[in-house]
């Protein structure tokens, strides 16, 4: 599970994340939405340990990301919007490398890969250099390697960028299936339709604050909207914007 406990992050005078408190239980599919520069990526970076919060703390599966980083990261997988891959390795070598860093034995890596490789249709590319792969194929390699060690918590930033509809479906189904088996998914996206379709709960971050959290139905109720989640999102962020402007004045 994921716990964000009163997390604050300052960038100089700017309060990028402003006291976020959130618990995402085991097996929940949680989507986070927000306008540009709302603080989503900063929140994710604190969650995965890339930056330290100014105050507050983040926990992964009960382990504090700052004080017990190795224990937290063993249970975590993180796929950023532009994932890093070694250009000169093949996807198979990259999968093996990440598996070994997670202390997996070769047989275990082989077993996990035999499920993920056909699922993400990587057979054709498995032994070709990564530098020759398209953006979408790279994204599939990154997601497959992140899922290899069967993480308890999966954090992903804009997973659908570069994926065709078929592979976007595969990613959604795989994450949904893993969530049903107990993996906690924390997905950040600008696509409200993805959140609407996939999320058990949705959080909306605006100006560094978690301004709304709940099921899509809860969000509609609080915003007084119906139909697509986009309507609730626009209503909530517009309200928050007006409140922010009034308080600034």
């Amino acid at each position: 599970m994921i716990e964000l406990i009163d997390v604050v992050k300052h960038f100089g005078d700017v309060r990028a994340v402003d006291g976020i408190r959130l618990t995402v239980p085991r097996g929940e599919f949680f989507c986070v939405l927000g306008p540009n520069a709302a603080g989503k990526t900063t929140t994710i970076k604190m969650l995965v340990g890339l930056i330290r919060p100014t105050s507050g703390s983040a926990r992964i599966a009960g382990f504090d990301v700052q004080s017990e980083p190795l224990e937290a990261r063993r249970r975590l997988a993180y796929v950023p919007d532009f994932p890093f891959l070694y250009e000169k390795l093949t996807p198979w070598e990259f999968l093996r490398f990440t598996g070994q860093l997670f202390l997996m034995e070769d047989e275990a890596i082989g077993r996990a890969a035999s499920d993920l490789v056909p699922r993400f249709q990587l057979e054709e590319w498995l032994h070709k250099p990564i530098e020759a792969l398209s953006h979408g194929t790279r994204q599939r390699v990154a997601i497959a390697s992140a899922l290899l060690h069967d993480p308890e918590v999966f954090v992903i930033d804009e997973p659908m960028v570069g994926l065709d509809p078929h592979h976007a479906r595969v990613v959604k189904d795989t994450l949904r299936e893993r969530a049903q088996r107990g993996m906690t998914v924390f997905l950040s996206t600008h696509q409200t339709s993805v959140a609407d379709e996939m999320a058990d709960r949705v959080g909306i971050i605006h100006r560094g604050r978690l301004v709304a959290v709940g099921t899509p139905a809860d969000l509609h109720r609080s915003a007084g909207t119906d139909g697509a989640l986009e309507c609730a999102f626009l209503a909530i962020t517009e309200d928050a914007f007006s409140e922010g402007s009034r308080s600034a004045q």
């Binding site: 992050k9 960038f11 005078d13 890339l50 950023p80 070598e93 202390l103 530098e131 004045q249």
Partner: protein
């Protein structure tokens, strides 16, 4: 059972494999080009070995003082290389630790932060040191040959150098962590440039020539040499790691193995001590610094002058915001109404408008100048290169009394031409060559605009050439003035410099388009690829051929009595032919490739 490979060994393995495959990829490059680069590198090693050999023998024969002078030169060379290694390790370690995608990737994996730091330390030290090895290998080989050393001198020296390189590597990385924890990127770059300028000023102050009367030289040689060598005594400070290396190498060459072993042990103990301290104590500070760098914390924010500057900027931003309504939506804009906050006054725009450039050319020029100005690394390195050359040229005035023979005046003026062209080649390879690649994924912005890629390439060529010309012509005029050259001779060198500057820029722009790397965002990595190496090799070969041709056909001759105008005309014809071939071919091919580039 856990896998037997440690995270560090895995990282070493994947990165070694990647490097090996990069090397194997040379098979897919043109054999002719690979051959040219191979021959050049071998030629450099052989030629520099030959020159060092001649130089060491020449100095060594100086009556009574030869061995002393050689010893001082070795100490001095290693002391300067140590300082440069420190600076190089600092800059490379900063980029590698805090601006590197692999580092960010590894920091989210269950790899101990100490392991990530050690791997990045190894990588930075190797990146910062390979050129040092390439530079000193022929010197040490020549030194060994001149001193008739035993065979074991060479492996022992290699081991000593290897152990020595660890020290600037660790110190540079530690300094990068300290700076990153307290300075943001811009402040860091300003700090590095300040250090560079101080370094140049120190050299200019410390190595001022001392006037010595002829009678002193004839009567009191020992006293004069001692006075001159006082300036180099800092290189023999026993606290300097370069002293331990120099003393170890020289003692080994003389067969004093006990003394050499002592210095080897001093080097080894410091290297091991520093490495141990780094593994024990720098992991966590590295993690904090990595977080700080991403959080843009800055020491500057605590300074009043910086806060005043920021508040002025905030006021400008507030003015911009005032053009929005309270609900955050833009105020309705009247057609034709001028919003000063949206168009802040910009001296660069005003200047370019005065030059009456076409609007599309003005846009590309303004963008490239802004990017150059905002990347302190680029102008910092330019300042360092041309700063050192300026210090040298200004110091020429102290030698003019000695430059009373035609031979020395000619030699120094042609060497100045070569040095100036080498600086231009360094700048064009380092900054102009990667320009096209750096457009990267954004290449469509200019590629799809009505001006097209071919015109963009032309604009980049003219901008880079004119900027370089401002520097090279100024230095040529200054050098000619300080050498008391007559006007025809200054014009001669100015014309040669102009042609060489345009040619070197044509090589860099043309090859940059022919060998693009759109995936890489780091210019130093773009340059270290095949195309960048080829650009440097071609530029150096062109400079060598041009300077030698012009020098051989110098219209003023090399002695008082032998000027030969016919030979000069022939030399200029060959020089212009070289320039057209070396510059026009890659540039034309580059233009054709740019016109055919599929976006």
């Amino acid at each position: 059972m856990k896998p037997s490979r440690t995270p560090l060994s895995l990282l070493l393995w994947v990165n070694s494999l990647s490097t090996w495959r990069r090397f194997l990829a040379l098979r897919h490059q043109s054999r002719l080009l690979v051959g040219v680069i191979g021959i050049f590198l071998t030629g450099y090693l052989l030629l520099s070995y030959f020159m060092f050999h001649l130089g060491l023998r020449f100095i060594g024969r100086f009556p009574g003082l030869g061995s002393l002078l050689v010893e001082r030169l070795i100490y001095l060379l290693f002391a300067f290389l140590f300082l440069l290694l420190l600076l190089s390790n600092l800059v490379i370690a900063y980029t590698n630790l805090f601006r590197n995608r692999e580092t960010a990737f590894l920091l989210t994996l269950p790899v101990p932060i100490e392991t990530v730091f050690i791997w990045k330390l190894i990588e930075s030290t190797l990146l910062a040191s390979w050129a040092f090895l390439f530079l000193i290998a022929p010197l040490l080989a020549a030194y060994g040959y001149v001193n008739h050393v035993e065979w074991h001198f060479y492996p022992a020296t290699l081991a000593l150098v290897g152990v020595f390189l660890v020290i600037p590597g660790v110190v540079g990385a530690a300094a990068a962590i300290v700076l990153a924890r307290h300075l943001d990127r811009k402040a860091f770059q300003i700090a590095v440039v300040t250090v560079l300028l101080s370094f140049i000023a120190l050299i200019a102050w410390r190595f001022q020539p001392e006037p010595i009367a002829n009678e002193q030289l004839e009567a009191r040689v020992q006293a004069v040499i001692d006075r001159l060598l006082v300036n180099t005594s800092f290189a023999q400070s026993p606290a300097l790691p370069s002293y331990w290396l120099s003393a170890g190498v020289q003692n080994w060459a003389e067969g004093a193995l006990h003394a050499a072993g002592f210095f080897a042990l001093v080097l080894a103990s410091y290297s091991l001590f520093l490495t141990r301290m780094a593994t024990l104590f720098l992991g966590n500070p590295f993690g904090e610094a990595a977080s700080n760098v991403q959080s843009r914390n800055s020491l500057f924010a605590e300074w009043a002058w910086f806060r005043r500057l920021e508040s002025r900027r905030s006021a400008l931003a507030a003015e911009l915001r005032s053009t929005f309504r309270a609900d955050g939506r833009p105020q309705p804009v009247d057609r034709g109404k001028y919003h000063p906050a949206w168009h802040p006054s910009d001296p660069l725009d005003r200047l370019l408008r005065r030059l009456r450039l076409a609007p599309d050319a003005r846009a590309v020029v303004a963008k490239d100048i802004r990017l150059f100005w905002r990347d302190t690394t680029q102008w910092g390195q330019t300042v360092l290169l041309f700063g050192l050359l300026t210090v040298y040229v200004i110091n020429l005035r102290h030698f003019t009394r000695q430059l009373d023979s035609q031979f020395w005046v000619s030699l120094v003026s042609f060497l100045n031409l070569g040095a100036c062209a080498l600086n231009v080649a360094t700048i064009t390879t380092r900054f102009v060559f990667p320009q096209f690649s750096l457009e990267g994924r954004r290449v469509w912005v200019v590629g799809l605009a009505p001006l097209g890629l071919a015109r963009t390439v032309w604009i980049k060529f003219w901008l880079a050439s004119i900027a370089a010309l401002l520097l090279t012509l100024s230095l040529t005029a200054l050098s000619g003035h300080l050498l008391h050259l007559e006007w025809p001779r200054i014009l001669f060198f100015a014309a040669a410099t102009t042609i060489m500057t345009f040619t070197l820029n044509a090589i860099a722009v043309g090859l940059g388009v022919l060998y693009p790397n759109f995936r890489e965002t780091n210019p130093s990595k773009i340059v270290s690829g095949f195309g960048g190496t080829f650009c440097l090799v071609l530029s150096l070969l062109y400079i060598l051929a041009s300077v030698v041709t012009l020098a051989l056909g110098s219209p003023w001759g090399w002695r008082e009595v032998d000027p030969q105008p016919g030979r000069a005309a022939f030399a200029w014809t060959v020089f212009i032919l070289f320039s057209v071939l070396a510059g026009a071919i890659p540039f034309r091919l580059g233009l054709r490739r740019a016109a055919e580039t599929e976006l």
